[in-house]
């Protein structure tokens, strides 16, 4: 299995913080991967991989939200997981609005709907986000922190977004995405 890991970082120094840890988890499990910056994705890349993970970015880094870099996501039929800012990308690609809401630190997350990625009804997760998702179809909520939808899924496709960073405290979410979707 080969995974495409997408970097959203406009600053390469941030990749050590937001891409490398996920790369490390996958490599540790012997998973083959390609790492690419979102501006360098070509149509051929998606044909070479089975799944895609869109990694997070620094709190001040929102350059990825400008432009139409992710139009290809709506036609992509393989499983996708967006982490942190990656979840914002998925929300935007499927027509949801993003609202300014800063959440930094460890918070209790409540599961709303059973899914392949999370087995626990309640768990703690690390958040580093400056935006929340204003949920709209075709995305649905899987989990909430307070009244914020922090884990979303496409209603009929294997496309997930975690507003938190599972690589920090809940790496099983990443492995469940790899193994169960």
């Amino acid at each position: 299995m080969r995974i495409l890991l997408i970097s959203l970082c406009s600053d390469p120094l941030s990749e050590l913080e937001f891409v490398k840890p996920i790369e490390h988890i996958l490599k540790h499990e012997g998973i083959n991967l390609i790492v690419k910056h979102y501006m360098k994705i070509s149509p051929g890349d998606s044909r070479l991989v089975e799944k895609v993970i869109i990694c997070g970015s620094a709190l001040k880094d929102n350059f990825f939200l400008a432009g139409e870099w992710f139009r290809w996501l709506s036609d992509f039929e393989k499983p996708i997981l967006g982490v942190g800012s990656g979840a914002q990308v998925i929300a935007k690609a499927f027509g949801c609005n993003l609202i300014r809401k800063t959440k930094i630190g460890v918070f209790k997350v409540r599961l709303i709907k059973e899914n392949k990625l999370v087995d626990k009804r309640v768990f703690y997760a690390y958040f580093l986000t400056g935006r929340a998702i204003e949920l709209a179809k075709p995305l649905e909520s899987l989990a909430k922190v307070g009244n914020i939808d922090c884990m979303v899924k496409h209603e009929s496709r294997e496309i997930y977004g975690c507003l938190f960073h599972p690589e920090v405290m809940s790496s099983e979410i990443i492995m469940n995405f790899i193994l169960r979707t």
Binding site: D11, L13, S14, E17, P21, L59, K60, D61, I104, G105
Partner: protein, 226 residues
């Protein structure tokens, strides 16, 4: 980007600087000097040495004493960062945080309030990989504090090398000690690194030790040519 480096004088903040320098300019170092050994967040032994480490790197340093208490320390950090913005025009901060969500989320919140970028290039790096990288780059690091069983006074002042790393890995496997020391088990002081224009030579020291807890206290030093 002009970065201010949160600097304790230990291996992690030095490695973070080393990594950041590949992409950005380090404009100043920022050290908080706790007025209590019970500091919640910041590195304590030999914090006074940071002034000489800064001189060895040819960088200015902001040293700010912090009052006792978690919130007061964070207020002091905020004040120090405001000063770094005003004096050196920084627009980002770099830290040596590895695993502590407690430490990193508080720094992220302050940076967010001040409109600063926050970089944590060692974030979630494995302990062993981090120590091996430090050796490979050629840092000269000594153990300046131990705070966990079964570490004893023989570790104080020891230079990090492959033998010491092997011992620490053994203790990690046997007792679960965090070999990178982020859990506070071990504190380190960097005497030389590639970005140092001069190296630090310790000319006098004192070992204070009791019940698996102790420090290698540097009493005097001088900067020497490399």
């Amino acid at each position: 980007m002009r970065l201010g480096a949160l600097f304790s004088g230990g291996k992690d903040s030095c490695l973070a600087i080393h990594k950041a320098q590949a992409f950005h300019e380090i404009s100043c170092l920022i050290s908080l000097i706790p007025s209590s050994e019970e500091s919640y967040i910041f590195h304590y032994p030999n914090i006074w040495v940071t002034r000489f480490q800064a001189e060895a790197m040819g960088l200015p340093i902001i040293q700010m004493e912090t009052e006792i208490g978690e919130e007061k320390e964070l207020t002091s950090l905020s004040k120090a960062l405001k000063l770094a913005i005003k004096r050196y025009g920084i627009n980002g901060v770099i830290t040596g945080a590895i695993k502590s969500t407690y430490q990193v989320s508080r720094i992220q919140k302050i940076c967010n309030r001040l409109g600063l970028w926050c970089f944590n290039p060692l974030w979630l790096k494995s302990q062993e990989e981090l120590m091996r990288e430090i050796l490979k780059i050629g840092f000269e690091v000594i153990i300046s504090g131990i705070f966990a069983y079964p570490l004893d006074s023989s570790f104080l002042g020891r230079r990090l090398d492959t033998n010491l790393l092997a011992e620490l890995i053994n203790l990690w496997r046997k007792y679960g000690i965090n070999i990178a020391g982020e859990g506070g088990e071990i504190e380190t002081t960097v005497l030389d690194a590639p970005m140092f224009k001069k190296r630090i030579k310790v000319t006098d020291y004192e070992i204070q030790y009791r019940d698996n807890s102790g420090i290698f206290k540097i009493k005097s030093l001088r900067l020497v040519d490399k």
